[in-house]
């Protein structure tokens, strides 16, 4: 068991190592180095020299990678070109803002998805299922920027209930954030809930058809007791992994949502740093987002291991 957990953590670390190689090599291979890309037409003379000096572009690439990687491991991402300040200072408030947005969306999204998934599975092909399933299909297929735009148009402009875009500085306090994030949270959790509800639904349906549930029904176990004792624990367990993958996948969509609502989080920083051609920040973001992805998957794996007694004795490999 301990070995299995250690192995999982090891695999995650290897993945992150490869990610760091990919981002580093990618930036090396693509045309233009960080300095010429950033300075564009002013890339000559003293400005270029100073930039090259500061980023250490004059030393060989592998040495630079080792330097960079060892700093990243110690939590130092280097220097932002456009902000003229350490990347850590740029990242700090953004990470906090995105965390607030993501955790509120997840806290609303997951319970709602479980409830909706169970309802649709138990009333399969009946009116509640058809209605909820149609809505989930719509909200999971429509792009984030469309649902966000429609939310602004309807709730903010036509009804005038809430402010349409977030106008707060990136170092806003927690309470300032909360009053501004209602629409972004709705936009993000809509898609997330739809994806997860669908998985919970098919998982519950699968378990309902299994032998032990049929057995419980034949034994005369009351319906709701059967649902809560026999079906749900078995149905929700495999969903954990898929939920984790979905959350991680939605990181890309969060970028778009943050841009639509002008929310000062990591996502908007992605766009800003790419528009400014600030490659050191882009590298840092790639590592951070990949770590979040790996971390979420690792937690899900470990949770499944802890909760499922059958897997404890098995060695699972994907």
């Amino acid at each position: 068991m301990l070995l299995l957990i250690l192995k999982r953590i090891g695999l995650g670390l290897i993945t992150l190592f490869i990610v760091s190689l990919i981002t580093f090599v990618g930036v090396e291979v693509l045309p233009g180095d960080a300095c010429t890309t950033y300075l564009e037409r002013e890339a000559y003379g003293a400005a270029l020299d100073a930039c090259i000096k500061r980023l250490g572009l004059d030393i060989p690439a592998y040495e630079r990678y080792l330097d960079w990687a060892s700093n990243v491991v110690r939590g130092d991402f280097g220097y932002s070109l456009s902000g003229e300040m350490p990347i850590n200072e740029v990242l700090g408030p953004r990470v906090k803002n995105s965390l607030v947005l993501a955790s509120v969306s997840i806290l609303i999204g997951i319970p709602l998805a479980i409830v909706l998934g169970i309802i649709t599975a138990l009333w399969r092909d009946k009116l509640p299922d058809i209605m909820i399933s149609t809505i989930t299909i719509f909200s999971m297929t429509i792009p984030e920027f469309i649902s966000a735009t429609l939310l602004i148009l309807i709730v903010a402009i036509w009804l005038g209930w809430l402010p349409g875009i977030v106008i707060i500085p990136s170092d806003a306090t927690f309470y300032e954030l909360l009053s501004n994030i209602i629409l972004p949270v709705v936009a993000i959790s809509m898609i997330m809930t739809a994806h997860m509800a669908r998985m919970v639904r098919s998982s519950v349906i699968q378990v309902m058809a299994s032998d032990y549930v049929q057995m419980a029904i034949l034994k005369g176990v009351p319906y709701w007791k059967m649902v809560f004792r026999h079906v749900l624990p078995n149905a929700l367990l495999p969903a954990i992994n898929v939920v984790a993958l979905t959350i991680a996948w939605l990181l890309g969509g969060v970028v778009v949502t943050e841009v639509v609502f002008n929310y000062p989080g990591l996502g908007r920083l992605v766009i800003e740093s790419i528009s400014n051609r600030d490659l050191p920040v882009v590298q840092a973001l790639a590592i951070i987002l990949a770590s979040i992805y790996v971390g979420i998957n690792l937690i899900a794996d470990l949770m499944t291991l802890m909760l499922n007694p059958r897997l404890k004795s098995l060695q699972i490999r994907k």
């Binding site: 695999l11 290897i14 993945t15 992150l16 490869i18 990610v19 190689l21 990919i22 981002t23 990618g26 930036v27 693509l30 045309p31 233009g32 890309t37 299909i137 719509f138 297929t141 429509i142 792009p143 984030e144 920027f145 469309i146 735009t149 429609l150 602004i152 148009l153 402009i157 994806h195 669908r198 998985m199 098919s202 998982s203 699968q206 495999p238 992994n241 898929v242 939920v243 984790a244 993958l245 979905t246 991680a248 996948w249 990181l251 890309g252 970028v255 778009v256 841009v259 639509v260 992605v270 766009i271 790419i274 051609r277 882009v282 973001l285 790639a286 987002l289 990949a290 992805y293 790996v294």
Partner: protein
Amino acid sequence: MESNLITEDKQKNKLEKAFEILKTMASRPSGLIGLAIVLFHVVLALISPYIAPYDYKAISPNTMLLAPSAEHWFGTDSLGRDVFTRTILGGRTALTVTFFGSLIALLWGGLLGIFCGLVGGKIDDVVMRVVDAFLSIPWILAMLLIVSLLGTSTEVLIPALGFFYGKGIVRVARAATHDVIAKDFIVSARARGHSNMSIIWNEIIPNVRDAILVEGAMRWSWMLLGFSSLSFLGFGVSPPTPDWGLMISNARGLMSFAYWSVIAPIVGLSSLIIGINLTADAFAKALGIDRSTKAPV
């Protein structure tokens, strides 16, 4: 002569089978709606240059932000361009780019996945680690970086999208291959002395094709979503080319009083994505594959 007859027979069987699958797909209302929407969009994309009532890039200060009327069915945008014209033309680039992108994704992802599933061992381990690493970098970050450094031409977008949406197919193809290679007919093909290539081509591909095709259909709708997100963010199609993502992003600022110029492209893009999704769902069901248990990786 005889072998000719056999291949002809096989060809006919394939057509019949494809027709059969189409019929099963259309037998459910959701599948029928999906197929109809996709067909509508494909036909529209083919004929729209001939039926467009106005020039899509004709700017005129006299017709700025007009409300929908008999002359301009969907109104005009902030530069005085006809929104109806731009909307019916707006899917052409997106459809072409994502269609070819999906083909590339299917090909490299499918073949690499089958190869890894078949050979296993060290090569498989290394490839899967690299695929995992690529999966953990958000697609949008990688795509934005590539596009901002290499430009937004279709020659860049198609391979880049094909590459980034293919890595998930590697996993699916590999898993499907694992299910197949333990079966007896593979063992007997090996015993007959067939080469790896021959086994892949004649034994494995026919058996994993369905799973990969369903995955490819899904990728198509996600790629469309990704492509229009890029356009929306200003990193996709460059103006004045009509494109739904770009139109929505341009019209968004003025939607408090000119909502029509944002509604039309929204309907266009959403209906196409929903259509492809419904079709892919029906396709999966017709082939007996349940994909609602899978995460969108």
